[in-house]
């Protein structure tokens, strides 16, 4: 990778009151690639993911040391507007969480907040986002219907469309397909391959085959530490660290 990393993480530690969730972590996230974070429950991967758009700010008792640099700029710096940061670094959650509004309004929501009033442009941006989320063909004739009438897989893609509408640079995904059936999962995974030409994607997943299928780089976390990071193909065929080997082969006792 010759290009500058999109995100640079330096000596990052995150504590919840007396517990250290992430320990002194250094990691570069390449632009327009998919990075998968894997590791057992409680290993710190979701905490790390949330540190990338300051979602941990919302957790009482959470403290942080070290730096997260987005395009070289410290996202925890005083001059950073956290709303603006979360516009640049969007997030999709495990459980799809559409607003109880129409399909159209769900995707338009962030754009309206950002001050977009022009009806024609709003419509164009909503349509483009639904296309990017591979949902347009399924919903184009029912945009006024409630988002809650969609299937689980469609709702998750709607949430992705909503995240994409405000044109983020980085998309964080926390177990985006864990509650979906195989076909919906395949659609989300296919979508990730498409999206990485435009966005930098970081995904947390418990499904190792999913990590193997969708990501370019994989990082393995264990007990708050980054044990190993490398190309996904390498990590799943010939990991360098025994702990990684044990995890990807299912040898955790």
């Amino acid at each position: 990778m010759s290009a500058q990393p999109k995100v640079k993480v330096r000596r990052l530690s995150i504590h919840y009151r007396d517990k250290t969730a992430v320990k002194n972590l250094d990691l570069d996230i390449a632009e327009r690639q998919v990075l998968a974070l894997i590791g057992p429950s409680g290993c710190g991967k979701s905490t790390f993911l949330r540190a990338l758009n300051r979602m941990n700010d919302l957790i009482p008792g959470a403290r942080q040391e070290g730096e997260v640099l987005l395009d070289g700029q410290d996202i925890n710096g005083r001059e950073i507007d956290v709303v603006d940061l979360r516009r640049r670094v969007g997030m999709v959650f495990q459980k799809s969480n559409p607003f109880p509004k129409s399909i159209f309004e769900n995707v338009a929501f962030g754009l309206r907040i950002a001050g977009l009033r022009d009806k024609a442009e709003l419509t164009a941006r909503v349509e483009a986002s639904l296309h990017h989320a591979a949902l347009w063909d399924e919903v184009k004739d029912r945009l006024a219907e409630s988002a809650l009438s969609l299937s689980g897989g469609q709702q998750q893609r709607l949430c992705i469309a909503r995240a994409l509408a405000i044109e983020p640079e980085v998309v964080l995904m926390d177990e985006p397909a864990s509650a979906l059936d195989p076909l919906s999962t395949a659609k989300i995974e296919e979508l990730m391959h498409e999206l990485k030409s435009r966005y930098t994607i970081v995904i947390v997943t418990h499904n190792m085959q999913q990590a193997a299928r969708v990501s370019d780089q994989t990082a393995f976390f264990y007990m708050g530490e980054l044990i190993e990071v490398g190309s996904t193909a390498h990590l799943f065929t010939n990991p360098g660290v025994k702990r990684t080997e044990d995890y990807v082969t299912g040898k955790f006792g």
Partner: protein
């Protein structure tokens, strides 16, 4: 050594390793018998080699089937994945060694019907070398011993040199006495089969290095970086 949390998976992998060893032992015995059938002029042994080949073929099918099942049902990764790909490759080498032993046994049966040729000491030596190469390759697989596997790769040169020497000896014999041509040609085939067995042993050893280290040492000159 850590074991898989899923014990049924652990059993599948152990079963695979065990079946490979059974097959390896079986083909080693076939080589020994086929060569003895020749040197001791015992065609009964040759017949036994043909019977063993059926069992070896069954083992090949069984191991391939087991590998396919593990891939489909377990999605193996890392060293498990390397074990499966190694198994799929070396099972083919072992099956080919079995076929070569059959070819030697057939030549032996043929030769045993004719007058024996003057003694040819290098042939049993070549046979011993080929057998020890395969034995060491299989042992390196069991012990996951890269050093032993690498020794198999370098030792192949001895086998090749001995084959060339034997080739020249037999050629000399044929030039001196034309009535030996038929039998000497048969022996030449036997020698060639033994040399090929050595090549299969090196294939196995190369896969053992891949299995343990994750680096593919085959065809170094054809390698394109990455």
């Amino acid at each position: 050594m850590t074991t898989h949390t899923d014990r049924a998976y652990e059993r599948d992998l152990n079963n695979l390793r065990e079946r490979l060893l059974v097959m390896g032992k079986r083909v080693q015995a076939m080589i020994a018998e086929s060569v003895l059938a020749l040197t001791a002029r015992d065609s009964k042994l040759a017949e036994h080699v043909l019977k063993s080949d059926l069992a070896v073929n069954r083992l090949e099918l069984e191991i391939d089937d087991l590998c396919r099942k593990i891939i489909a049902l377990r999605q193996p990764a890392a060293s498990d994945l390397r074990l499966i790909t190694t198994a799929v490759k070396i099972v083919t080498d072992l099956e080919r060694v079995g076929d070569l032993a059959v070819n030697i046994a057939e030549r032996a049966t043929d030769l045993n019907k004719a007058e024996p040729l003057p003694s040819y000491d290098d042939l049993p030596r070549l046979a011993e070398l080929a057998q020890s190469q395969l034995r060491n390759a299989l042992e390196s697989f069991v012990k996951r011993d890269v050093v032993q596997a690498e020794r198999v790769l370098t030792s192949d040169d001895f086998l090749d040199a001995l084959f060339v020497k034997l080739f020249n000896e037999l050629l000399q014999l044929m030039m001196e006495e034309s009535k030996t041509i038929r039998r000497a040609t048969s022996l030449l085939f036997v020698a060639k089969h033994l040399e090929r067995i050595g090549d299969h042993a090196t294939n196995v050893a190369e896969m053992v290095i891949y299995l343990v280290k994750g680096t593919d040492v085959r065809h170094p000159t054809s390698r394109t970086g990455g």
